[in-house]
C-alpha cells in the first residue's frame, strides 16, 4: 500500500535488542502528547506464571479517538487490552506490575472496584459471544444487571444500540428469538450493540472484524467512525487497511514490547523505524 520510494530508513537494530533482551525506549511521536488522554498506561509488565508477556508498556489513549494496536500474532495485544478492564484477574497465574489510569484514577490497585470499572469500559471480544437468551435480553443485559425494569427505557436502549451496531433492520422483527440463532457476523454486531448499550467511556475491541465478511466489516468500520467522539476506542486489528482507515492513533507492538506509537497517518506514511515500516507495508517476516 503505502510504498515509500526506496526506503530511506536504516534498520535500527531494535529487534536485535528485543531478541537479546536488552532494554530500549519505544519511539513515541510527539503529536500524541498534545491529546487529552483518557487511558494512561505506565510501565506495564505482565507475567503468565513465569513467562513475561508484556514489557514496560507505556502509552496513552486519547479521549474520543480511536487507537489501534497492531503487531504480529502473539505479541500481547489481547493481553494488553484485557489489562484495561482487568479481565486478566480471571487467570490465576497472571502477575502485573505498573499502572493504568482511567481519567487519572489508577485501576490496577487491589482496592479498585472492578465491577464499577467494567461498567465504564465496554469490551467486544475476538470471537462473538452472545448469551444464551433472546436478542433483546442480550442487548439490554448491562441494564438488566443494574436492575433496570422500565420496559420503555429498555426497548428504547435496545433499538438505539441495535441501530448503532447496524443490526436493527435485520432483527427488529425477532427480538424475542434466541441470539444464538444469528449468523456469526450478526452475533458480532449484537455484541457491539450490547457493549454500547452500557454507554461506556472506553470501548475495547479485540479484532472485532475477524469473523466478519467485507460488507459487515465495512459496517463495523463505519460504526467505529460514528462512535468516536462519544467513546474512546482501543482496538486490536490484524488488518493494516483497517488500522489506517479507522484509527487516529496506532501502536505497533512486537514480542510484548511497544515499538512505535503515533498518529496513524504518520505511522503509516512516515514511520520512524524501519521495522514499523516493514510491518505496515507487509514486508515483515
Amino acid at each position: 500500500m503505502n510504498e515509500l520510494p526506496g526506503s530511506i530508513l536504516e534498520p535500527s537494530g531494535l529487534f536485535d535488542a528485543i531478541h537479546e533482551g536488552r532494554s530500549f525506549d519505544a519511539v513515541v511521536h510527539e503529536a500524541t502528547f498534545d491529546e487529552r488522554s483518557i487511558l494512561e498506561i505506565e510501565k506495564l509488565r505482565l507475567w503468565y506464571g513465569s513467562s513475561q508477556a508484556l514489557f514496560d508498556i507505556s502509552m496513552l489513549c486519547p479521549e474520543g479517538k480511536v487507537t489501534a494496536l497492531i503487531g504480529p500474532s502473539g505479541c500481547g495485544k489481547s493481553t494488553l487490552l484485557r489489562c484495561v478492564n482487568r479481565m486478566n484477574d480471571l487467570i490465576d497465574t497472571v502477575r502485573i506490575e505498573g499502572q493504568i489510569r482511567l481519567s487519572g484514577q489508577p485501576i490496577l490497585d487491589s482496592g479498585t472496584d472492578v465491577i464499577e470499572l467494567r461498567k465504564r469500559i465496554g469490551m467486544v471480544f475476538q470471537k462473538p459471544n452472545p448469551f444464551p437468551m433472546s436478542i433483546f435480553e442480550n442487548v439490554v443485559y448491562s441494564l438488566r444487571i443494574d436492575g433496570e425494569r422500565d420496559r420503555g427505557l429498555l426497548e428504547e436502549v435496545c433499538e438505539e444500540s441495535l441501530k448503532g451496531a447496524g443490526l436493527w433492520e435485520e432483527v427488529k422483527d425477532r427480538l424475542e428469538s434466541s441470539a444464538l440463532a444469528l449468523s456469526g457476523g450478526q452475533q458480532q454486531r449484537l455484541c457491539i450493540a450490547r457493549a454500547i448499550a452500557a454507554e461506556p467511556e472506553v470501548l475495547l475491541l479485540d479484532e472485532p472484524c475477524s469473523a466478519l465478511d467485507p460488507i459487515a466489516t465495512g459496517r463495523v468500520e463505519d460504526l467505529i467512525d460514528e462512535l468516536k467522539g462519544t467513546y474512546s476506542i482501543l482496538m486490536v486489528t490484524h488488518n493494516m487497511q483497517q488500522a489506517s482507515r479507522a484509527s487516529d492513533y496506532t501502536a505497533f507492538m512486537y514480542l510484548g514490547r511497544l515499538v512505535e506509537f503515533g498518529p496513524t497517518q504518520d505511522l503509516f506514511l512516515q514511520p520512524r523505524l524501519k521495522e514499523t515500516e516493514d510491518y505496515v507495508t507487509g514486508r515483515f517476516g
Binding site: 479481565m87 459471544n129 448491562s142 434466541s178
Partner: protein, 566 residues
C-alpha cells in the same frame, strides 16, 4: 481406503529445492491404523450389551404382561380316580431318583380347604383332562383363588335357583350392589372412624400439651381435660352410630350367597360381596378374556393389596414410589447443584477441591445399605427425634417424626444420589464456554449475576441429565428403604386428600420393596411369582415415565438454548 498414492515425480529444480526432491516418501498406511478390528470389537461389545438388556427386558415384559391373561380351567382326573380342578401353570421335565419325570404345575386354589394352592402332578398319573363348561374362577377377598362350579344361589338362606346359568346371572346382578355396600363399609371403617379417632387423639394431645406447658393442675389443663371428655362422649356416640350402620350393611351383604362345589364335591357357600371377580373360564369369548385381563390390570393399578400383597393392587406402592422419587429429586437437585456450583465456581481449585471431588465421586461406590443405616441412625433418630422433642413433646413417647418415614427415605436417597447430581452438574458447568462468562463479566456483571443469568441457564440441560440419572438410581433402590421408611403394608397413604396432603412422616409402600417382599417374604412364593414380574414391569415403566418427563424438559431447554422456537 487403501488406494496407493504415488508421490508426485520430483520436478526438476534448481539448487534451492533439491532438498525437497530428496524428501522421504510417506509409508503406506498400516493395517492396524485402519482400525477395522477395533470397529468389530466395539460393535460386538455393543451387540452383547444390547442383547443382555433386551433379553432382561423381554423376560420382564413377557411374564409381566402374561400374568393377568385368563387361561382355561382344566379338570384332571387321575389314575387313582381323584380329580383336580385348576389352571395349568407350567410343565417341566425333572430327574427324580435318577428317572426323568414329566410333570405339570397346577394352580388348584381353594387354599382354605386344602392348605395348598399349587400341586405338582406327574403326567404319567393323568387319566383324563376335560374343560368343564361351568367351571368358575373365583377371586376372593381372602384365601386366594377358588375353583369350582356353581350349585345354587341363596337369598336369606332360601335357595332361589339351582341351574348354573341362572345362578350365574343372579350372581352378576347382585355383585355390583354388594360390592358397593362393601366399599361403603370400608369408607365408614377407614375414614369416618378414622376421623373420630383423629379427633380424640388431637384432644388427648391438647390435654397433654396443656399439662406440659402450664402444669397438671392449671386452669388450662383442666379446661382441656373437660374438652377432651366432651369430645370422648361425642366420639362414643359417633362410634355407636357408625357401628350400627356398618352392622346393617354387613347383614344385608350376608343375605346374598352363592354356593359352589369343588372338584372334590365339597359345597362352599360364599357371600357375594366377598367375591372380587368371577368368570367361567372355559365359556369366555376372546373379548371376554380381554375384559378380564383389563379389569385385572385396572385392579392391579388402582386397588389396595390383599392377601399379604400377593393379590389385589399396588396403588399405594405406586403412589409411594412416585412421591418418594419426586421428593428425592426436589431435595437432591438444588442441594447437588449448589454443592457443584461452589466446587466449580467459587472454591479455589487445588488439592483440597480435587480431594473433595474424588471423595464425592467415590461416595457413589458406597454400598447403598450403608446409606440406609446412616439414614436410620441420623435422620430418623437424631433429626427426627430432635424435631419430636422440640415440636411434638405432647405425643411422646410415641414418635411423630422420629421414626421411619417418607421424608427420611427421600433424604437418604437424596444423599445416595447426590454424587450423581454433583458430577453431572460440575460437567455441565465446566462445559459452559468461558467466552460467555467473560462476556458477562466484561459487561460489569458480578460473578453471582453471571452464574445466575448465564451459567445456570446454559448448564440446565446438563443438570437435567444428572436428575435423570438420579431418578433412575433412586427409584430402583430398595436396600436402604427397608431401613428408613418402606413397609410391607402401610396403614395410610403418604399423599392423600386430607390437609396437608403430603404427610412426610408417614411410612409408605414402595414397588422395589414390594418386589423384594413378594419374592422372599410371601407365604406362597408360587402365587407371588407372576406378581413379581408384573410389579417389576410396572416399576420399570414408572422410572421410564419419570425419566421421559425429565428428558422432555431437557430437550425443550436445549432447543430453547439453541434458538429453535419451541
Amino acid at each position: 481406503m487403501t488406494t496407493t498414492l504415488e508421490p508426485p515425480a520430483p520436478t526438476p529444480a534448481p539448487e534451492a529445492s533439491r532438498q525437497r526432491a530428496r524428501k522421504r516418501p510417506r509409508r503406506r498406511t498400516q493395517l492396524s491404523a485402519h482400525g477395522e478390528p477395533f470397529v468389530w470389537i466395539s460393535g460386538g461389545a455393543l451387540v452383547l450389551a444390547l442383547a443382555m438388556v433386551v433379553g432382561l427386558f423381554a423376560l420382564v415384559l413377557g411374564f409381566g404382561l402374561g400374568t393377568f391373561w385368563p387361561g382355561p380351567l382344566e379338570q384332571i382326573t387321575l389314575e387313582d380316580g381323584t380329580s383336580v380342578l385348576g389352571e395349568l401353570q407350567r410343565e417341566e421335565t425333572v430327574r427324580l431318583d435318577g428317572e426323568e419325570v414329566d410333570r405339570r404345575l397346577i394352580r388348584v386354589g381353594n387354599r382354605d380347604l386344602t392348605g395348598v394352592s399349587f400341586r405338582w402332578i406327574d403326567n404319567a398319573d393323568v387319566a383324563k383332562v376335560e374343560r368343564p363348561d361351568w367351571a368358575l374362577v373365583v377371586e376372593r377377598l381372602s384365601w386366594g383363588r377358588f375353583y369350582g362350579t356353581p350349585v345354587s344361589y341363596q337369598v336369606q338362606g332360601e335357595v332361589v335357583t339351582e341351574d348354573p346359568a341362572e345362578v350365574w346371572s343372579a350372581f352378576l346382578a347382585e355383585q355390583g350392589p354388594a360390592r358397593e355396600r362393601l366399599a361403603e363399609i370400608r369408607t365408614l371403617e377407614e375414614h369416618e372412624i378414622g376421623r373420630v379417632n383423629a379427633r380424640l387423639e388431637r384432644a388427648r394431645l391438647a390435654t397433654r400439651g396443656a399439662e406440659l406447658r402450664f402444669g397438671e393442675d392449671s386452669d388450662e389443663a383442666r379446661r382441656a381435660k373437660m374438652q377432651e371428655l366432651r369430645i370422648q362422649e361425642e366420639g362414643e356416640a359417633s362410634f355407636a352410630e357408625l357401628g350400627a350402620k356398618i352392622a346393617a350393611l354387613r347383614a344385608k351383604n350376608a343375605e346374598q350367597k352363592v354356593v359352589f362345589r369343588t372338584s372334590d364335591g365339597v359345597d362352599v357357600p360364599m357371600e357375594v360381596a366377598s367375591i372380587v371377580r368371577a368368570y367361567p373360564a372355559n365359556r369366555l369369548s376372546f373379548t371376554g378374556k380381554v375384559g378380564v385381563y383389563l379389569a385385572r390390570w385396572w385392579e392391579f393399578l388402582s386397588a389396595d393389596p390383599r392377601e399379604s400383597n400377593m393379590e389385589g393392587g399396588v396403588f399405594p406402592a405406586i403412589l409411594g414410589t412416585v412421591s418418594m422419587t419426586l421428593l428425592m429429586s426436589i431435595l437432591v437437585v438444588p442441594f447437588g447443584v449448589l454443592a457443584a456450583l461452589y466446587l466449580r465456581e467459587y472454591a479455589k481449585q487445588g488439592i483440597v477441591v480435587s480431594t473433595i471431588r474424588i471423595v464425592v465421586n467415590n461416595l457413589a461406590g458406597v454400598p447403598s445399605i450403608v446409606f440406609g443405616v446412616f439414614g436410620l441412625g441420623f435422620f430418623c433418630y437424631v433429626v427426627g427425634g430432635s424435631i419430636d422433642r422440640a415440636f411434638f413433646p405432647e405425643a411422646l413417647p410415641d414418635p411423630t417424626f422420629g421414626k421411619r418415614g417418607l421424608i427420611w427415605a427421600a433424604l437418604t436417597l437424596a444423599l445416595l444420589t447426590l454424587p450423581v447430581v454433583i458430577v453431572a452438574t460440575e460437567e455441565a458447568l465446566a462445559a459452559v464456554p468461558s467466552s460467555m462468562r467473560e462476556g458477562s463479566l466484561a459487561c460489569g456483571a458480578t460473578k453471582w449475576q453471571t452464574i445466575r443469568r448465564i451459567v445456570l441457564p446454559r448448564a440446565a440441560p446438563g443438570i437435567m441429565t444428572g436428575m435423570v440419572l438420579a431418578i433412575a438410581r433412586g427409584a430402583g433402590e430398595v436396600a436402604p428403604l427397608m431401613l428408613v421408611g418402606a413397609v410391607k403394608l402401610a396403614p395410610s397413604l403418604p399423599v392423600d386428600l386430607t390437609a396437608p396432603f403430603v404427610h412426610p412422616s408417614r411410612s409408605f409402600m414402595h414397588l422395589g420393596f414390594h418386589i423384594f417382599d413378594l419374592g422372599f417374604q410371601s407365604p406362597d412364593s408360587e402365587a407371588a411369582k407372576p406378581m413379581i414380574y408384573t410389579t417389576t414391569l410396572l416399576l420399570i415403566v414408572i422410572i421410564l415415565a419419570l425419566n421421559s418427563i425429565a428428558f422432555w424438559v431437557r430437550g425443550r431447554l436445549r432447543r430453547k438454548l439453541q434458538g429453535v422456537h419451541v
